[in-house]
């Protein structure tokens, strides 16, 4: 079985974000990047499937971006992907979902992947579009927000997370694409021997512009912090000072409740 996993590298969400010069997106300097959390579940699920299938399968991991994304690629290789494709795109943060999906679809077309795994969304853009767009461009079935995945005899049985704790079960024939939700599995940490082994794995480099030159369908502006709503108070100081202040607040708010 041929498996493709698409991953994105995103900033640590606890970072302090500042707009770039044109305020279309964040300024990348001083940010630490890591693998998009949803994609960690996608990589793990692909590796679990490979383990289920034994030796007859191969996982390709793909990431689009500048050289920094190689770090995320190496992590995926250390977790168990077999080979990698780095699609070089220095301007990745200004590429929107339609363009990203067009690049991935152009790469995947004709390569006969049986299954494509992606995260359900990225933590930074959060569009939840790319996976489904790739499937539509390739003309293969897809389903989203997986919290359960099983494969047998060319059929995927997927459990989708719906609202209010309800789940929906669907079946689709491969080739297919699935997008992974948090909690689908327990992503493993790469071990040192596997990190060493991963160094020998192939990372092919392609140019994004040679795969697709679709124009953007949207424009972005005014990247900013949210306008503060309500009358929230921010307390800072030493732990002792903070405790004293909060005790007073809690006494007032919990009067009659206890």
């Amino acid at each position: 079985m041929k498996i493709l996993v698409c991953i994105k590298q995103v900033p640590d969400m606890e970072s302090h974000f500042r707009p770039n010069g044109s305020a279309t997106w964040f300024d990348e300097s001083d940010l630490a990047f890591r693998m998009n959390e949803y994609d960690e579940y996608a990589v793990e699920e692909a590796v679990l499937l490979k383990e289920q299938l034994g030796g007859e399968s191969e996982i390709t991991v793909l990431s689009i971006g500048p050289d920094r994304v190689i770090e995320a690629i190496k992590k995926a290789l250390a977790i168990g992907c077999d080979r990698a494709v780095h699609i070089l795109e220095p301007e990745v943060t200004s590429r929107e979902p339609w363009q990203i999906a067009s690049i991935i679809a152009a790469y995947a077309r004709g390569k006969q992947f049986d299954l494509i795994f992606t995260g359900m969304q990225s933590q930074d853009r959060g569009s939840a579009q790319v996976g489904v767009l790739v499937a539509e461009l390739l003309g293969i079935p897809s389903t989203t927000t997986l919290v359960g995945f099983a494969w047998a005899d060319g059929v995927v049985t997927a459990t989708r997370e719906l609202e209010g704790g309800v789940k929906g079960k669907v079946r689709l024939k491969t080739p297919a694409l699935v997008t992974c939700q948090l909690g689908l599995n327990s992503p493993r940490y790469p071990t040192l021997p596997n990190i060493m082994k991963a160094r020998k794995k192939e990372i092919a480099t392609l140019q994004a512009g040679e795969l697709s030159s679709e124009p953007p369908l949207t424009g972005s502006s005014s990247f900013r912090h949210p306008e503060k709503r309500g009358s929230g108070v921010v307390l800072e100081g030493s732990v002792d000072e903070l405790v004293e202040k909060v005790i007073v607040i809690l006494k007032d708010k919990t009067a009659g409740l206890r």
């Binding site: 979902p97 539509e136 948090l182 972005s220 990247f223 108070v233 307390l235 903070l242 409740l257 206890r258």
Partner: protein, 302 residues
């Protein structure tokens, strides 16, 4: 502007979120039609065109079938904007429509800013404006971002049909897991988030909950990591709570979590990140390391 609102219907019932789509249409000032795979017995009350496909023929959500039906409504009504709720239905179906029409999609819109749309990004920590550059566009709106509008009236129904074959088969629903904790009735809820770092530290938060006489809640990452079971989860995929006092310990405040607790009477948040989105709903945000502050607070309370 002509809007086509995509209503939701599940297991024989029109979902309430359909009224939020009408609220969005009123906010933007558009002429609204609704698309629904539902039942003629339970139609949204509004005065406009309802493109209706019979759910008893087409079953529960099937992406290929719903895509074909919705494309027929688009062809007939020629809308400028096709509007979904950003839900498991909307985020699954919307990109299929955008790809078929080759038009822009904007996800999880929370506001209207002139001819741009306001959206969240970076885990709801930041905002930006997005403008479609195609003449038609597909958007999904965040659940709860636009007030529900009970418009009233009776729509003009146009029946849609398709004979498309589908490669996806809907098997069935699984009900929510049984809960041993009833957070919805608690007067005080103290919740643990990812910021507590590891499973053992749940006890730190449990001690504070006990000292305050409240129930123990959790954000999604804590439940996903197996630190607490799903019965403790607060948020749109867990329980919705509105206690007199909500204490969020090390919770950054994803949209899904905020949707489940923002109606609490008083919200105290403890987070080392001053910019964490939980600060948007908190009455008091204590900027501190949760593992230093919470034990000190518990000791003082006991």
């Amino acid at each position: 502007m002509k809007l086509l609102l995509v209503g939701e219907y599940r297991e024989g019932k029109l979902l309430d979120t359909t009224a939020e789509l009408l609220g969005f249409a009123a906010a933007i000032g558009g002429d609204a039609s609704i698309f629904l795979v539902g039942s003629a017995e339970d139609v949204p009350a509004f005065s406009g065109t309802l493109y209706l496909a019979d759910a008893s023929l087409y079953g529960e959500y099937n992406p290929e079938v719903h895509k074909q039906l919705l494309l027929k409504a688009v062809e007939e009504g020629n809308p400028d904007l096709i509007v979904f709720i950003h839900s498991s239905y909307g985020w699954d179906l919307a990109p299929r429509i955008a790809a078929s029409l080759r038009v822009a999609q904007l996800s999880e819109v929370i506001g209207i800013a002139g001819n741009a749309y306001e959206v969240g990004c970076c885990n709801a920590k930041m905002r930006r404006n997005v403008t479609p550059s195609t003449s038609k566009a597909v958007i999904t709106i965040q659940a709860g971002a636009f007030p529900a509008l009970q418009e009233g009236g009776a729509p003009v129904v146009k029946v849609l049909s398709t004979d498309v074959a589908s490669t996806t088969e809907f098997v069935g629903y699984e009900p929510p897991e049984a809960r041993d904790v009833n957070l919805a009735k608690a007067g005080i809820v103290v919740s643990a988030g990812r910021g507590i770092g590891k499973k053992e530290n749940i006890e730190v938060i449990r001690s504070l909950a006990r000292a305050l006489g409240g129930e123990l809640g959790a954000s999604r990452p804590v439940v996903d990591a197996g630190w607490l079971d799903h019965g403790h989860q607060v948020g749109s995929t867990g329980q919705t709570v509105a206690p007199k006092l909500y204490v969020a310990c090390g919770i950054s405040g994803s949209i899904q979590h905020l949707a489940g607790m923002k109606k609490s009477g008083f919200i105290l948040a403890i987070n080392k990140d001053k910019d964490a989105p939980i600060g948007e709903v908190a009455d008091v945000l204590v900027v501190a390391d949760v593992l230093q502050f919470v034990p000190a607070l518990t000791a003082k309370l006991s």
